[in-house]
Every structure is written in structure tokens, then in C-alpha cells.
Symmetry: C5
Subunit: 354 residues, 5 copies
């Protein structure tokens, strides 16, 4: 299956807005996790049916419902109906090959982006889709499977840490986005370290294994970039959005998030260029080695081929070869051989080959 | 014939707006297929002459007339007159080398773009031109030949599936565009899979056949890109259009379509870069193999050439070669040969050539 | 002489607006050809002096004066005075190295661009400068020499074909520009066909002749691009111009012309990229062949060098070489030689060299 | 540790705005250095606690507080509280991997950028983070360790040199930024000189040491660029800022600073291109040398291999080889050998190999 | 010294606006040359001290003061004071490494750009800085040394040629800029001719000398580009400037100047691309030659190595080699040798190597 483009065969020829799950099932059963809080109160429950959580929509408290598992389209449809989501939003949530983007609806904002994880052993990045619907008093998050990426945010809510309990739902959305982007930076750094490390090795010992590494990092960096660039785009859009869903005090935090995303994109580009340079250096290293090999071959050939020829001359069976019969012929023969050898060696020394 | 630019010889020196068919005839006879519907009624007929379909123009129901076969310029002219199309629109419909674009006229919108099909056997993409004229109550579509690409949409109309019967003509136009763009994504994915697959092969076994593949994918990706980029451009334009031909409820669907087209363009660029990387890796692989070959040659030469030389010395016919007459000369001779060989092998081991 | 930049030595240090012809004389004597028409009347004459044509300026009919030959600066000056042209316009008309551009003056528009012709034998494009001054009732065109490029337009005027006789002077200007841009497309297509054709040859047989071809097409494509891009720029500007010299009905035609020019620029870029790919493939082909050559060399060397060495051993003249005296030595010697040869061949087969 | 992206592990999962120092401790203890002046008075003291310096905030004189050492987060927090800084500003000051940027707050401007130093021995650039908070009457600067980079500005203040004592706090901020950017230019020039110098060497003697140098300069230029480009961006923003924190007379100085930063960015790009050219030339040089080596090998082989073969023929032990018994055979043999050698040499001369 | 960035060491740590000359002294003593004219009068004098020329500032006539030699900072300071120049203007005039730019002050415009000269022998471009201050009735020009580049303009003033005497000071400024840009075009053309000329040579005979040439042209083109691009930028800005220092009739001339500068920049880019293509072709040429060399080597080796082996066999001293004793062995031996040789030659012919 193409990794850079999710299979949409299932959806071909279907009506837009129809509910088809595109992706691979990653969890047994969909679960709904609800946190409802304000400065004083905190409720945290797991529910099986959205109807149990519906009343939270009406209250003024901050309500965060996290839905894990997208393959149960019924659950998603129920959530959609309960919170009045547009059919296209449902379609986008279910299509895990969705490009990161933001959509403004009448009284909700919809974002979708990727949570990245890095499999260090395989040296491969995996993406999971995260969709968020931000309403005036509720935040819905949809993940493909339960993950612990948002656990620190939940901890902050539970322990009343930082400003999170005192401010609105928009700050919660920001906090989750910030967690996701922090993860991007973390992964880029991991790969980046390795990219910076192989530099010296390339110059000294350009092996096919190094080449395979360069290639892997290049592919992964392309993959990261494809994920982060549209995310940065919508964060830019979000930070400039004039919507009453975003309160004034949250604005500098969004600006800060934008800086982080911009830095991520820039660093990716720097690493991509660095990898191109690595490949160039690698190629030059290969050429250098070829030169070395050819020098060895040439030096051996150029020294011994003339010598062998001279030996060959005196191996001929001509009847009348006067040199063969002199007393010191064999000695002189050796002197000549040495003379030729020394001359050749000097020749190569002058050319800096030795 | 140049595939990236259609032959316009026929039209050279002709007045603009004249009716000349540019392309190759792909169907025997032009046919007109009419679907007329609203929420309650549905009429579907094949007609031979546009005059039979003219009255649909006046009704308030949604009227979709699909014309297959462009070489019969008379048919196209009649349609043009019946629906009051600008001469340039007729010219553009007939010129199958037209760049995808949108034109706004007083009470119609005109689009032209390509329907892509992928010939898996030949690994080659074929384009067919699709032109659409969107009026207030009618939609004209012009194809080079009858195709089944729009059959699912017709089925949705017939079976009253999704929202299509309940909404306006603009939604029908969107549904057709969506089908076309879905097809693009589908084809990119097909080629993309193959591009991702050959990656490992390149590193391990860079054969000319792989090179030919890289080249084919590159050319096809260029071809796809040339087709999709202007299409995305006009979809962008369309999604921002302030026209009363586009109803408000259709807007989010067009925005969604734009996202799809944007994703297509981005993925094409990603694959193009990947192919460039592939070519680089391929070249490096070739260089690597050359090094291997040269190592083999050098090792053989550097070991045997000196040995042959030594043998040559004792093949000379000098009268006085003392070594020839010693009892163990031949044995010592072999020891020397082995000594030289071992030295050379060690030399190459130290250089990591063995 | 630099082809990509016309020699301006003659004009160095001269005052701007002075009349100096920059270029090479291409016609014996300047000629003036006048066509004056409206829906009913048509006058077509050749005149020697602009004074004879001056009265056309005052009439309401469409007056097109075509001046061939720029080296007679007196003629150009007289025309300039008769029609009140700015000194800089005269200077630009005379400088055949002028970059394509449009200038707005109080009641005239001035364009200058290139007419391209393709010398198929030399595989080289030649440019001729065309300048146009569009007034309210007159159109002046200045060419370096008489050409038949505008003959079809004249025919359309004479034969009352298409809309040309019924509409204004701006449509005539459009018709001429359209003819010029059609010619661009035609030439790009010619070269494009050849570029697409050599693709297969490059993979199979990368000869220096193919390399020379790639180089030629690349240079010509650069040349075309340098000519067309600024032309497209001013057509864009023209199509958006808010001037009462351009009537409303002409607007869609200019938009269409812009589409054509845009398509030309895009196709040029596609072909330029394709040529870059061609060069890459060519280089890879060269490397592939080198590998083939080296394999042949290595196989021969690695098989025969050891054999020669073994033969050399038994060519030595040592007194005590027991093997020489055995009955079947020579036979065993051959068996050994064959054994070595077969081993080497197997070695190369395992490495996929054979 | 990745040099192009600072380790943010410490901050993962922490609430935004929390105070965590990201970087490596470069100084024992944080120090605060205060300069307070107007046209007539000048006070310069070192204080241990910001409370001692707090009263300067109220006065109308220019107050510049320089804080060295960021690891003591308590000190930074105290400063932040004393001057009412936003939590995100504090966070940014403490994160030494911050991307250069400017933030506008209600009555302060916050900038952060890098001070570059060049370690000539290691040929490596080091960055230190500088953060500045510009208020109406105070300027806070935060550095990782005390440096003498601002000493000349202090001298100018002390010695009443130039305009610095007579103008506002914004001019002081400009003067510090100018010093930092001057330092950038200085470092680019240092590396640039070396880049320009190696040019001739590359053509004449492409050694791996030169390659390592090119690579080093490339990496450092990338590093400089990554540092300067966002700095230039915010200087651009600053020079266009409509804020009452920036007085009119300072505007041309900021414009001048922008020019300097723009020049820096442009020169970096020029040098980066130059390095790419260097690498190309280097590779071509390597190929050239390979050709030279192969020529030597080929000339030797092509001359001596046929000669050796001829000698081999007359080394055979056939009973009936008539030539062996002629009187002048050996002499003629030498003539043939010389003839072959001369022919080969001529052959190579004609091919321009000798 | 870095050529692409002027040494600013002298200015490090100095207050902005301080007067330090950055550059190398090119003339013994600064001189001031004054031309004062209107339609009727003309005064032309050399003065030693600006005080003698001060009164020209007050008159309504056009006053052009040309100052040669920047190292005498006192002279420049006096001029600055006499004409009320901003300290930053003085600083910019003295810094000969200044990036070309324009600054608007209350009633003056300040430009600085480079005068280029081409040393044909060294194939190297030299830059000299030209600064201009345009006031309402005066124009100050500052050059590093006296040059004859403006002599033609002076001649036009003296001889009352063209429009120069009848129009304002802004036209004079334009005329000088036009002269400078004409010079750019002239130099680009010189180098361009050479770039176009070497094309054929590269394909046929890729020698290191050609490579050195390509490299030189590339470096010089980079240098020219770095000089011209910012100049074009400020000419663009100037041509759109809404300032009462620029009269309406001068506007079309500035537009024309902009076209010229744009053309220069575009042609530089075309030549830069052409040089990249040249380098590619060069590399391919080198590879081609390597293939040729290797073919020669392989053909010689593959023909003679087997032959030598066969000869070696019959040079062995085995006692029982039946072939040695046959009457026609030697003759058959030759037949076999020829047979092998012919087979090999056919093999290479079939592979198109011969």
C-alpha cells in the first residue's frame, strides 16, 4: 500500500459526505472518555454511548470528549448527530488519509492533523490521525486508538497545574496541539542527531550501509515534512483567525505554537539539504576510492608489464642472441629490471600517486 | 505527435472562435444523453438532435445533457446555439489540447479539464477532455467518447442516494468534478505504490530495467502534474467564486474538493522528489558496482602480474643463471611465489578490499 | 555576437531617445503597407512616404499600417512624427534587442515582442522583432522585414471572414498577437516532438550525437523561454488593463490569448525538465556502459592472467622440475588450466556478471 | 546532541509558560549589570538581586539591565515579575534553542536572536542566545554568559561618544542589534575569504582534505543562514513597526540595520552557491584525474602487451620454427618490436593522449 | 580579502554614523568638479574646497558636483555639512562595500550603486562605488576615483545635445544611472559572447582549460548578479516613487531604465543556467572520454591476453608435448592465434566498440 497516499478505493464512486472508514482498524472497540471541568469541579468518566455524555454539551463547563477507534462508524455518526457536525466533517474524521487542515463552521472549528511516533528500531515514522472539533463549551477529539500522548495534559487538568483549569476550552485545544507539535520537534531531533552524526563517517568510509541510511533519513524527512507543512499552514491560519471561539489571552500561545511549527519546518528543510550534501559527499567519496583502486592497478601494471616483457625477450629461442652467452648477462639483466622499476616508481612519485 | 502539447496545425491561421476539432476521433457518432430531475421526478433519454432537448432549458428542474464525441462539429454548434454559448467556449470544447481552466460568462460558468485513465499494461496515462457548461438550470458535459466514469453519479441520481436529488445543479457539477479528482488520486496512488516499492531494489540491484522504470514513472508523474495543477488552480478559483450560480450549501463541498486537489498536487511533488532521490541512489549504486568490478580486476592483476614476471625471469635462456642449477631452486621458487601472493592478499585485506 | 543579448555598442553613450538602429539590416528598402476598412469598405495600398497615409489617422475606419525594414531611421522618424509617438517608443522600435513589453501612453498602447521562426535544418530558432502601436483608430506594426506571418489575417479582412471586419481596431491587434503566439506554440510543438522521441534512444544507445541533440534542444528551449515569458507577462497585463482603447467584447479573446501564452510557458518548463531528466538518464547510460566495458576487461583478465602464470611456471628453465618429466604432465596441465577457467567463470556467474 | 535543534526533552509534557531552562549552563552564577543614564548623568552598578534595580523602572532615564546566566531560573523569574513580563516571554528567554523572533506586547517589545562567535581553530561557529525586552524607559538583555561583545557600546555610553547619550532607549536597543549584526558580517567574511581562497586549489589539486573543507564551510554556512534569516525577518518587521516605543529619529538607523542584515543573507546565499560550484568543480577534477590514470594504464598496457605476445611466440618450443634459425632473426625481432611500439605511440599521439 | 564582502574590520565597534572610510585608496587627492547649467548658461569649474561651490546650492540652475576620492573623509564631511546630509548617508558614501540601495530623506534622495569595469586580460570584473545625492537643484556624485564613464553625459551638456539642457536635475540623475546600467549590459554581453562561444568546444574537447573558463565565467556572473540585482530593485522602487523630486516627464525614462535593468538580470540568469548546462555537458564529455579510453584498453587486453596465454602454453618445457613435434604445428599455431584474434575483433564489432 502506498504510504504517502492512503488507499481510497473503498470510497471511489461513493457520494461525498457518506460515512466510510478509510484506514486500518487499530483497536477492538471504540471508547469514549469524558473530562468535564471548570476552576472548581472536575468529572472524569468513560462512557459507552454518546447519549450518556450529551448533557455536557449544554453546561458552561469545559467538556473534553476523546473518542478512540474510528472503524465503528455508528459511534462516530452518533457523536456527529449529538453535536450537530456537518457530514463532511464526519467524512474527514473517518478518512485517515486526510491532509491536515482546519475548517470553520458556524459555531465550531474543525482541525485534523497527525500524531507522529518514531519506531527507533525500524527507523520509520508512523502517523495516527487526530481530529478535533472545538465548540463553545466542548472539545471533541478523535483518535485511531488510545494513546498516552495526551496523558500529561490530563495530568495538568487533574492536578490543577499551570493555567489550564482557569481558562477556556480554546486553551485546552491549544494545549493538545502544542503537545502534538512538541512531539514533532522531538522526532525531528532524534533523526537530526543521526543525520549530523553520520557526516564524518561518510567522508572516511562511504559504504553501501551508509548510503542506505542516508536514503532512509531522506525518505523519513520527506514524510515528516509532508505531515508538518500543512499543519503549520493551518496553525498560521488559526493564529490569525478572527473568531469568537478563540479568546484574547490564548492568542500569544497560538503565536508561540506557530513559531514552534515554523521552526520545525525550517529545521526539516535544513536537514533535507544536509542529506543532499551528504549524498554528494558520498558520491565524491566513491569516486575518490575508485581513483585509489585504479592507481594501485596502474602502478602494478605499469611496473611489471615492461619487466615481464624484458624477461620475455630473453625467453625467446632464437639461435643467435649474443646477450645470452655473455658471462654477466644475467647480472646486467637484473640491473636493467631494477632500473626500469626505479624509473617507474619515480615517475609515479612525481605524479603524487605514491 | 507531441504528447505534452496537442497538434494545432489544423487551427493555424484560422480566425479565433472558428469551429475546428483538434484531436483524434474516438467514437463513431456523437450521442446526447439527457437526465432531467428534481426531488420527485426523473426523466432519462437519449436524443439524436439537441432540438429534442431544448425545452429542458426552460424548466426549473435540473437538466444534465452529456454529449459524447466532439468530431461532429455540427452537433456541437447546434448545442452551442441552443444554449447561447460564446464562440470561444465552442472553440475550447473542440480543442482537446486545451489547458484546464474556468471561464465566467454572464449566466454560465465554463470549465474544461481532463479525465485520466491509467493503462496498467503500458504503464501509461491517457487523458480525455471533459468540458462542462453550468447554467442556472442546466449542465452540459462534453466528452470525447462515452465512458463509465460518471455512471456512479447517475446511479446516485436514479436511486435517490445521498443528497444529490434534493439540491441544485451546482451540486451535480461538484459531484462530477469530485469523481474526476477522485480518479486522479486513484491513479497517483497506483503509480505511487510502484515508486515506493522499487526503492529497495534500487539499492540492491541497479539494473537498466529499474532505470527504465524510474524514467517511466518520472515521465508519467510529469504528465499527471501538468494535468492536475491547472485543474487545482481553477478549483481554487471556483471555491472562492462569488457567483449566484453556486449556492451556499455547496461551498463546503467545493472547499473539500479543493483540499483533495491540493493533496493530489502535493503528493505528486513528493513522488517526483522521491524519483529524483531514486535516480541519485541508482547512480550511486552503479558507481558502487564499478568499484567492486575494479577491485576484482585489481586484485587479480596485482597478484598474478608479479608472479608471472618472476616465472618469466626463470624462463630466460641466459647461459649463466646460477639459481637454475641448484637442487631446491624450484622449491624455493614456489615459496617465493606464495610469499608474494600472501603479501599482496594481506595488502588488500588491510585496505578492506577483501 | 552574443545571441541572447543584442549588441548595443552603437548606442553606448548616446542620449536616450536618440534614433539609432540596433540590429542587422534584413531588407533593401523600408515599405509601408496600408489597409483601411470598416464593415462596408476596404482600401489596401502600398505607399512610399507616410505623408500619403496621414489622412487615415483622422477617419473613423480601422487603419492598419505595416512598416517593414527598420534600418531607414528617417522613415521611422516620419511615422513617429505623423502619429505623435514618444521618442522612447521610436528608440524601442529601432532597438531589435528590446525585451518584450507593453507601455501605456496617453492615447496609444505600445507593445513590442518577437516573431519566432524555426530553421528545421539548422535546428535553430530565429527571432524577428515586431512592434505595435495601437491608437484609437489606427494600428502601426513595425517588422524587420516583410513576412507572410500576417497574411492569413489580411485574408480574413479581405474575405470578410469571421468577426474581424465588424469589430474595432483592438480586435485587429488581438488577432495579430494571437497569430504570433500560435506560431510560438507551433514551434514548441516541433521541438517538443523531437524531445519526446529521443527518450527511448537515450536509454538504449547513449551516443555523443544524442548528447549534442539534448544540448541543442536545451539551448533552443532556453531561447524560446526567454522570448515568451516576458510576452506572457505583458499579455497578462493587457488582459487586465482598464483602458478605453480595449472594448469590452475583446476582453474574452484576450483572456483566451493569455491562456494560450500560459500554456506555452508551462509546456516549455515541462520540456526543460524533461531535457534535464534526459541528461540524467544519458549520464546513467554512460556509466552503465562503462560498467559493461569493465566487466569484459575484468572477466578476460581474471581468467587468462592466472592461466598465463601457470604456463609461465612450466616455461622456467630450472634443472630439477619433477613435473616436467612425468608422462601425463602435459595432460594434467591442461586439466588444471581448464579447472581454473571453469572456476573463474562460475565465480563471475555467481556475481551475475555473465 | 543535534546542533541544529536544541534538545527539548526537559520540556516535553510540561505546561506552556512553565519555567524550564533548556541549554547548557555556561556561567557559575547569574549576574545583573545596570547602566542608567541620560544626557547628564550616568550610573553603572552590579547588583545581586533585581529588587535593588527595581526603582530604575520608574525613572525617566534610560536603564539598561544586562542579565548573564540563564540557568538560575529564580533570578529570571524575579526579573520577569519586577518588569511584568508575560510567562511566554520568560519561557522563550530560558529556551536557548529559540528561533530568532520579535513579539509585541502591550508596552514592551521582546526580541530574541543569537550572538555568533567563530572558533577559528575548530572552524566552527558557536551561538549564544540574546534576548531583549524593550520598555518605554528600560531595556533588559539576557545572555547565557558575560561577553565583551557589548563592551564598545558601553564605552560609547561612558565616553559620551556619538549620539547615544542624547537619544532614547530605542537607539540603545538598535545599537546592540547593530553590534550583533556587525559580528555576523564579520564572521561571514572570515569564512568567505577561505571559500574564495580554495577555488584555485580545487582545480589544480582535488584532495580529500579540500573536500572536507568544502563540506565544513557548507555546514557552517547553513548554520549561519539558519541563524541570520529569521533575524533579518524580524529586523524587517521592526523597521516597519508602527509603535510608539520606536522614535522617529531611530527609523533611518533601523532601515540601515535592515540593509546590513539583507546584505548578510544575500552574501550567504552567494557563498552557498559558490560552494556548490566548488563541489561540482571538485568532482570534475576527480573525474579528470581518473582519466589521467586510465590513460597511463592504457598506454602502458597497449604498448607492452602486444610486445610481450610477440616475445612469447618465439619463446615457444615448437621443433620447426624457421625464423628461429636465421642469422638476423633476433635483430629483425627487435626491429618488429620497435615498429609496434612506435605505431602505438603514434596512435596515442593522434588521440592527444600523449 | 573577501571580494564578495568588503572588510568592515575598521568599522567594528564604532558608533553608527561615524565617518570611517572602508575600502582601498585609489586616487592621490580628492577633487571636486562642478557643472552648473540651465538652458542658456553653463559654468564648469574644478574647486578645491566645497565652500567655493556652496553658493550653487541656492541658485535655481542645475548644479552637478562630482567628488572623486573618498579616503579624505574631511572633504566628504565638509560636503555633507554644506548640503545637510544625514550622518548615515555620509557613512554609506564612505563604505565602499555598501549594498546598492536608495534612501528617501526629507528633501533629498540618496542612491548608491556600483560602476563595473571589465578587465579583459584577467577576465575579471572590478567594481567602483558610485553614490548620488539628488536634491531639488543639485546633484552630488561620489566616486572612488576619476573615471571617464560620465564623460559622454558631460559632452551632451556642453554641446546642448538631446534634451538634457532643457530639463531638470532628475533627468541628469537618470542620464547618469542610464550610463551605468548601459555599462552593465555591455559587460554582460562581453562575457556572454564567450559563454556562447565555448559551447561547441565543450562537446568536442573537454579539457581542464575549458573547465577553468567555465568556472571563471560562473564566478564573474555571480559577481555581476550580486551587483545588479539590488540596483534593479531600487530602480524599480525609484520608477514607482511618488516624490516631487522626480518630474512627470522623467517617468517614462525611468520606466525604460527599469526595463533595461530587468533585461540585464534576466540575461544573467539565462547565462548562469547556460553555464550549469555547460558544466553538465563537460562532465558527460569527460565520462565519454573515459569510456573511449577503457574501450581501447579492453580491446587490447582482450585480444592479446588470450594470445599470450596460448604462446605461453607452447613455451612450457614439458617433456611430452606431442604438438611440439608435428611438422606443421607452428603453422597451425599461427592459424589458431589469428582465429582467436578475429573472433575477438568480431565480438567487439558486434558490441559497436570498433
Amino acid at each position: 500500500m502506498a504510504r504517502f497516499l492512503k488507499n481510497k478505493d473503498a470510497a471511489m464512486g461513493k457520494a461525498p459526505g457518506e460515512m466510510i472508514f478509510i484506514g486500518s482498524q487499530k483497536v477492538q472497540q471504540a471508547t469514549l472518555h469524558v473530562i468535564d471541568y471548570d476552576r472548581e469541579h472536575l468529572t472524569e468518566i468513560e462512557i459507552a454511548d454518546i447519549k450518556e455524555g450529551r448533557h455536557f454539551k449544554e453546561t458552561d463547563t469545559v467538556t473534553w470528549i476523546n473518542i478512540n477507534g474510528l472503524h465503528e462508524t455508528d459511534v462516530i455518526r452518533d457523536v456527529g448527530q449529538a453535536f450537530g457536525l456537518h457530514p463532511l466533517v464526519i467524512e474527514d474524521i473517518l478518512n485517515t488519509g486526510q491532509r491536515p487542515k482546519m475548517e470553520e463552521y458556524d459555531d465550531t472549528l474543525f482541525f485534523t492533523l497527525k500524531i507522529m511516533t518514531y519506531d527507533e528500531k525500524e527507523e520509520r515514522i508512523h502517523n495516527e490521525q487526530l481530529s478535533m472539533v472545538l465548540g463553545r463549551t466542548f472539545l471533541l477529539t478523535f483518535q485511531e486508538r488510545p494513546g498516552d500522548v495526551f496523558e500529561p495534559v490530563r495530568e495538568r487538568i487533574r492536578k490543577h497545574k499551570g493555567r489550564i483549569r482557569g481558562v477556556g476550552i480554546d486553551y485546552l485545544a491549544y494545549a493538545l496541539l502544542d503537545t502534538v507539535v512538541d512531539k514533532y520537534i522531538f522526532i525531528i531531533e532524534r533523526i537530526g542527531e543521526q543525520i549530523e552524526e553520520i557526516e564524518d563517517e561518510i567522508l572516511e568510509n562511504p559504504t553501501p550501509a551508509i548510503l542506505a541510511k542516508i536514503n532512509t533519513y531522506k525518505r523519513e524527512m520527506n514524510y515528516v515534512r509532508k505531515t508538518i507543512r500543512p499543519a503549520r499552514e493551518f496553525i498560521l491560519h488559526l493564529s490569525r483567525l478572527d473568531s469568537d471561539l478563540i479568546d484574547d489571552p490564548t492568542a500569544p500561545f497560538l503565536k508561540d505554537l506557530l513559531d514552534l511549527a515554523t521552526q520545525a519546518v525550517e529545521v526539516i528543510d535544513t536537514y533535507r539539504e544536509m542529506l543532499s550534501d551528504h549524498l554528494n559527499i558520498f558520491n565524491t567519496g566513491i569516486s575518490n576510492r575508485l581513483n585509489e583502486i585504479m592507481k594501485v592497478l596502474t602502478i602494478f601494471s605499469a611496473i611489471f608489464i615492461p619487466l615481464t616483457f624484458i624477461a620475455g625477450i630473453y625467453g625467446t629461442n632464437f639461435e643467435y642472441v649474443p646477450e645470452l652467452h655473455f658471462r654477466y648477462s644475467y647480472f646486467i639483466f637484473w640491473v636493467v629490471l631494477l632500473g626500469v622499476a626505479v624509473t617507474m616508481i619515480r615517475f609515479f612519485k612525481r605524479r603524487n600517486w605514491l
